[in-house]
C-alpha cells in the first residue's frame, strides 16, 4: 500500500478516535475501556495471517500462542463488557422511586 494512503488512514482514524469518546460520562469509563480493550483483540486477524505464513516450528509455535492470547483478549473482552453493561439496562416497574 502507498505510504501516503497508510498515513492518511492513520491520521483520520486518530481524529475519529478522539471525536467518538470526547463526551463520555465517568459512569461509562470502565465499560468503554473494556470495550476498546476487546476491539484491539482484533490482532487475532494478524495472528491468523502470520500462522498462515509460518514455515518453521518456532514460527508456528509463537503464532499459535499469539492466536490463543488474542482470542482471550477479544472474546473475553466483549463478554465481560456485555456483562457490565447488562447491569445498566433501564429498570422498569413501580418499585423504584
Amino acid at each position: 500500500m502507498e505510504p501516503i494512503a497508510i498515513i492518511s488512514i492513520f491520521v483520520l482514524a486518530v481524529f475519529v478516535g478522539f471525536e467518538v469518546v470526547s463526551k463520555v460520562s465517568s459512569t461509562l469509563h470502565t465499560p468503554l475501556m473494556s470495550g476498546a480493550n476487546a476491539i484491539h483483540g482484533v490482532i487475532l486477524v494478524g495472528a491468523i495471517i502470520v500462522a498462515d505464513h509460518s514455515r518453521t516450528n518456532l514460527e508456528l509455535g509463537l503464532a499459535v500462542a499469539a492466536i490463543i492470547l488474542a482470542t482471550i483478549n477479544m472474546v473475553g473482552g466483549f463478554v465481560v463488557t456485555d456483562r457490565m453493561l447488562e447491569m445498566f439496562k433501564p429498570k422498569k416497574g413501580g418499585e423504584n422511586k
Partner: protein, 463 residues
Amino acid sequence: MSHFLYSLIGLSAGVCFILALKGLSTPKTARRGNIIGAVGATIATVVVFFYAQEGESLPLNNLGWILGAIAVGVVIGVPAARKVQMTQMPQLVALFNGVGGGAAALVAIVEYLHLGDKANTAEVIATVFTVIVGCVSFSGSIITFLKLQELMTTRPVVFPGGRFVIAATLAATLGVAVWVVVALGTNPLLILAALSLLFGVLFVLPVGGADVPIVISLLNAFTGLTVAASGYVLDSTLLIIAGTLVGASGTILTRMMAEAMGRSLFGTLFGAFTAKPQEASGAADDRPVRSGSPDDVAILLNYARRVVIVPGFGLAVAQAQHTVRELADLLISKGIDVAYGIHPVAGRMPGHMNVLLAEANVPYDQLAEMEEVNPTFAQTDVAIVIGANDVVNPAAKTSPGAPIYGMPILEVANAANIIFLKRSMRPGFAGIENELLYDPKTMLLFGDAKASLTKVVSALKNL
C-alpha cells in the same frame, strides 16, 4: 476472494468498531455498541479464512493449529469473563489488555522471522515499535493485575536509585532498538523483547494503587497502537483502523480519567522517574477515636432528615450492596432523604461503583455524582462512609506530600455527622492515614460492612 472485496469487508468491520466506541459513550446505546463491536470483530476474523494472502493459497496453512488455538482461547477467555466477580473486573480488564499486547508482540516477532532479509526499513521500525510497546503493555498489565488482586503491595514500589535503573533500562531498550534496525537479526530482537518486558515491570512498579486505573487505560491505548503498527507490517487496513481508533480513544479516555482524579497525566506517566522513596508514615496512631454500636448509628440515622451514603470498594468486597440498599429503602420509608454520593473513581476504576450498585438494583436516580452531591453536604445530617477511605480523605486537599494530593474528594467533612463503617483502622488502597477518622463528629463502627449494616437495619426496625 478478490483483494478489493477482502478490503471492503475489512473496512466494514472498521466502521463497526467506530460505531461500537460511539455507542459505548452513552448509557442508552452502550450495550448495543458493544455488540456491534463484537459483530465487527467476528466478521474480520471469519473473512481471513476465505482470503489467500499474497504468496499463499487457500485453505490456510496450519488450519488445524489455527482453529485449535482459537478454541483454546475461547475456552479460557469466556469462562473467565463469565465467572469473574464484578469487584474483580479491573484486574480482568488489565489481564485481557496484557494478553492483547503480548499477542501483538508475538505477531511482530513471527512476521519478522518470516520476512528475514526481505523486510524493508519501515517494516523493521514498525516491528521494533510493536515488540517494545507490546512487551511493555504485557508485563506492565501483569504487574497492575498483581497489584489489583493484592498479590503484591498496592503502594508505590520505589527503591533507591530506582529512577536511574529505569532510565538505564529505557536507554538500553532504545539502543537495542536501533541495533535491530541497523543490524537485523533474531537475537537482537529477542534481547529487545526481554528488555522491554523488564521496562514494563519497572514502569508500573512505582505507580501507587490509586493511579493504577490510569495506567491500565494508558496501556490499553498503547496496545491499540501496536495493533496499528502490526497492520502496517501485515498490510491490513483493518488492523490500522482498529488499532488507531483504540489508541486515540484510549489516550483521550486516559486523560479524562486523570482529570476526574485530579492527577496530571504527565505526573502519572513519568512518576517512575520522579518518584522519591516515601517516608514511612508517622508512628502508629494511638489517638482516640469515637467508636459506636449499631444502635448508636441507628438512632443517629433515625433522626436525620438527609443522609448521604458514600460507598467504597470495601462495600463491594463485603458483598454488602444489597444490605445497603435495604438500609436506604428503610430510611426512605421513614421519610428521610437519601442519596448515594459516588466518587468518579470509587471502587478500583472510574465508574466501577456504578456497576457494582447497578448489580444490586439500586435505582439509578439515587446515585449522585460528586459535583452534584458535594454542595449538599452542608445540609446533610449524616454521611455514612462504607468501606471507603481515600475518596473522602481531606489529605487530598490539605497535604501536598500525599500520593492522592489534588484528587477531588467527596466533602463529607461538611456534614453534621460522619459515620465510618470500617473493618479496622488500616488505611485505604493508597495507603494514607485519614485525619477525618479522628474528627470529633465522626463515629466509627468497626466490623465487616455487611454484618454491621445488617445490625444497623435491624436496630432501625426496632426503633
